[in-house]
Amino acid sequence: MNKYFEHFMKYQKIYLTLLALIILITPTFINLFIGKPLLSGSESYYNLQQAKTLTHENFDYFPLSLTLKLLPADYLFVIPLTLALISLFLIFVITEGTKIRKDFKFFFLLFVILSPVFIYTFTTISQNSYLIFLIILGFYFLTRKNSVLRYLSIIPFIVSSFFDIISTMLVILSLLVHIYLIKKRRKIVLINLIFILISSLINIIFLGQTFFPMQFHQQNFLTGLLADLGGVHGVSFFVFLLAIIGLTITWKKKYFSISYLFLLVLIPACIFNSELAFLVSILLTFFATVAFVFFLNKKWDLENIKRFTYFILLLGILFSTISYLDRFSENYPLNGHEETLSWISENTPVGTIILSSSENVHYLNYFTDGKPFHLLYKDQAYTDENYAKITTATHINTLENLLNVHKIELIYVTPDMKQVLPADYGILVLLQNENFKLVHSHNEFEVWVYLPNIV
């Protein structure tokens, strides 16, 4: 092992924490530099809106609601950042004194930190960042020698069952794996399991908890997993490739067979709900690390080729990270959103029904007092069908009828709509009619008001 490598292994806590800090702060700096809202992602604004309108149905948003009262929304980026750093610290503490090899721990955490999925999760106010933090915190308490602390693990595990059924299933699975592998502290784990099950039942019966998490991105399975193909919750293609090799390596080793359980649950679930790509990505990173460390510790005939291959691998993984950070400035909301939505908030009455693309729903909901068309009806299929009818209407009378039926008063046109909607027919063309007036615009963002009685 060369001396640099040994140095990194020895001081991995410092280096990895610093790296995580730099990587997670970079998007915020990018946003600050280009004048965008510091918080990105539709999910962040959905959660903030929920925290703003706290009721008995969403009382689990109480901590966020409290924070929102103490800090302006723009500064809330510190929450995921703190969660990430604490999670990292707890992982170091939990794994101390275990049989997990230093190099395995180093590369696993390095790949996780460099993965686009980590950057996305811990720079947005997202369910996944809380879930990961709570699970790690739970295991931290569970692995302490002090029995009081061990019992404290019940709290984070119970809270983690408040998200959705699939997340609860994964928490239960993690605890079962713990029993299977560690063969210690069975009693407290069993107590945890009982509490989680009770909490989960309450959530399902009384709070109508859903099976899958709420979807904020519509991506197909493969694209969702690969950040290099534009996946939001994805990993680098090299990590994906290494994970496949890792799977073939672990196939023969009984010790790892338990990890396939997670794959069996997560992969089919991920096909139905792309938000779960986050958890699949973490699992893929684990298998990728297995392959990486396996080849690293293996003697190669061609030592120079080994060094060069590893150099390219690390460059490739880093390349995905940089490429993702480079794209981060394009993530919604842009400064155009903030400017135009603030204008809407100041200049339109409360409850105005606003038509825009589904990508803008949570921004509209958070920044304005209007009502996005996509949240008017509970039937999602009905909403989508009518949105398609409105945006592709070829005749002004058809469009007006639809707008009247749904009582739409404002149309909010964003760059993504201009890219997706037809340019030579449909709403973008019909907006030029005298019954519509462009009342405000900023960059590529336009606010049109519908004036039904003009003609």
Binding site: L222, T223, D228, L229, G230, F237, F238, L241, F295, W300, D301, L302, I305, K306, F308, T309, I312, L313, L315, G316, F319, S320, S323, R327
Partner: protein, 493 residues
């Protein structure tokens, strides 16, 4: 004569034949003009045209530039059009030497290897002698990499493999076939309980990582925008048949020649099921790999068939060796000495005519059309956009130096199918309003009906031409008009 002299004779014969055929027409195949323009630009500026202001009226396009840089280097000493004729033919003729070396490595039989070299020298599918494309560099490099891979036990060949693979990764994305071939080779070895040498596995892993990295470096933006669909190059379904025609055995037999084809099938069967010839396993893996990639429409049918043909030529050496041994066990063993001459004569007679026919049937623009494109460069305003048929898109940007509506680099182009249909409809519609509508839509200022368009659409001119809307500017052979009408202008008036 010893084998070295024979090999030189085969090489010289091949290069002479190729050059005679190449110089019998002064022009190049349609797709060559894209590469000619790139090489010319590299020679002038040192950089390829990634932001092309002429293609599709202005677009960004990324490609692997090694071939163009190599050719640009030769243009320091020779004129571009001479380089474009000489170097690709020289490179493809060099396949005779590489194939000889590979065959010799596999069979250790010089006569068999010479026959393989002879086959590859006359392989009809390689006789697009007027084509200036990356395949002319890709094929020799790929087989050089295979040769180096077969000799990995020697250190210098390890370096040779690494260098050739690096260059291949910078030349063409079709290098993927090598990686898939390696994977199949590993699978076959696993099925036969044969463990590949450690150095082999290590180089395979290195190749995989390096290739992917290189592709990500060059095509990062395309992958993010188009996702996995990028690998299918956004080719319009109407013309996908030209790029990836369904596999036709008869067509394949014609292009790779009957005897090597039959011999190849025999060798594959024997190697896989009877003789367990592990040396042939690697080559067979590449055949399977190219077939898979063609089936998945990831590499062009022509490239795949060229590969297939060269591998069959190599496999022929194994066939010949077995044939030779077979003769030695028969009563006509005294004729053994003449087997090579007889086989070579049969090969020559069955391959020379298809090779010449392939060369003569290349899709090359006529001199009249070329003159018309050159005329465009000097006689119409610089920012003019000219509607020409798809095949002539690169010809227009190379000679005419004017904006085209479409060419065959489809990646990252929105609504490419619609564009293709509408471009064709300009050449077929009798409706003036429809045509003018399209001219407005694409900003077309000039239209050209070339000799090629006459052949393609089986009529002699646009069907909507009227004197008041179109002024004929060029009257020799091809017809060039300036568009004077616009629906938008009429509305404004």
């Amino acid at each position: 004569m010893d084998s070295k002299k024979w090999l030189i004779t085969i090489f010289i014969f091949t290069i002479l034949l190729r050059l005679i055929l190449a110089f019998s027409s002064p022009n190049f195949t349609y797709d060559s003009y894209f590469h000619l323009r790139q090489v010319e630009h590299i020679r002038e500026t040192g950089l390829p045209i990634y932001n092309d202001e002429l293609s599709y009226g202005g677009r960004t396009f990324q490609f692997l530039p090694f071939f163009h840089y190599i050719m640009a280097f030769f243009t320091i000493f020779l004129p571009l059009e001479l380089v474009a004729k000489l170097i690709p033919n020289f490179l493809l003729a060099s396949l005779t030497i590489i194939v000889f070396l590979i065959s010799k490595k596999i069979t250790n039989n010089k006569t068999a290897s010479l026959l393989s070299a002879f086959i590859v020298g006359l392989l009809p599918i390689l006789y697009s002698t007027n084509s200036f494309s990356t395949e002319s560099l890709f094929l020799p490099l790929a087989f050089l990499a295979i040769y180096a891979f077969l000799n990995l036990e020697k250190k210098r060949f390890q370096y040779l493999y690494i260098i050739t693979f690096l260059l291949l990764s910078l030349t063409s994305s079709a290098t993927l076939f090598l990686l898939i071939g390696f994977a199949i080779y590993l699978l076959l070895s696993f099925l036969e309980n044969k463990k590949p040498a450690r150095s082999e596995s290590e180089l395979m892993f290195f190749s995989l990582i390096f290739f992917i990295w290189m592709q990500f470096l060059f095509f990062k933006d395309f992958l993010i925008i188009e996702g996995i669909g990028f690998v299918w190059q956004n080719i319009p379904t109407q013309i996908i048949q030209n790029y990836f025609p369904n596999f036709s055995v008869i067509e394949a037999i014609i292009f790779v020649s009957v005897i090597p084809f039959l011999a190849g099938i025999f060798v594959v069967y024997r190697s896989l099921f009877q003789a367990k010839n592990y040396k042939a396993f690697l080559l067979i893996s590449f055949v399977i790999s190219t077939s898979i990639l063609t089936w998945l429409r990831l590499i062009q049918f022509k490239v795949s068939l060229a590969f297939f043909g060269v591998i069959l030529a190599i496999l022929f050496s194994i066939f010949y060796e077995e044939l030779f041994h077979f003769f030695s066990r028969t009563k006509i063993s005294h004729l053994q000495r003449n087997v090579a001459i007889i086989v070579a004569s049969i090969l020559f007679l069955t391959m020379i005519f298809p090779a010449i026919a392939v060369s003569n049937n290349q899709e090359i623009p006529s001199n009249e059309d070329i003159t018309a494109f050159k005329w465009l460069n000097q006689n119409i305003p610089e920012n003019s956009k000219v509607a020409v048929i798809l095949d002539e898109g690169h010809l227009l940007t190379y000679y005419g130096k004017r904006l085209n509506v479409m060419d065959d680099n489809f990646n990252l182009i929105d609504n490419v199918e619609e564009r293709f249909v509408e471009l064709n409809s300009i050449f077929t519609t009798p409706l003036q309003t429809h045509a003018v509508d399209l001219f407005d839509k694409y900003g077309i200022t000039h239209i050209m009906f070339s000799n090629k368009a006459k052949e393609r659409f089986e009529h002699t001119n646009f069907k909507f031409i009227t004197v008041d809307c179109y002024e004929r500017l060029y009257k020799e052979g091809a017809k060039i008009y300036e568009v004077k009408c616009s629906l938008i202008e009429e509305e404004n008036e």
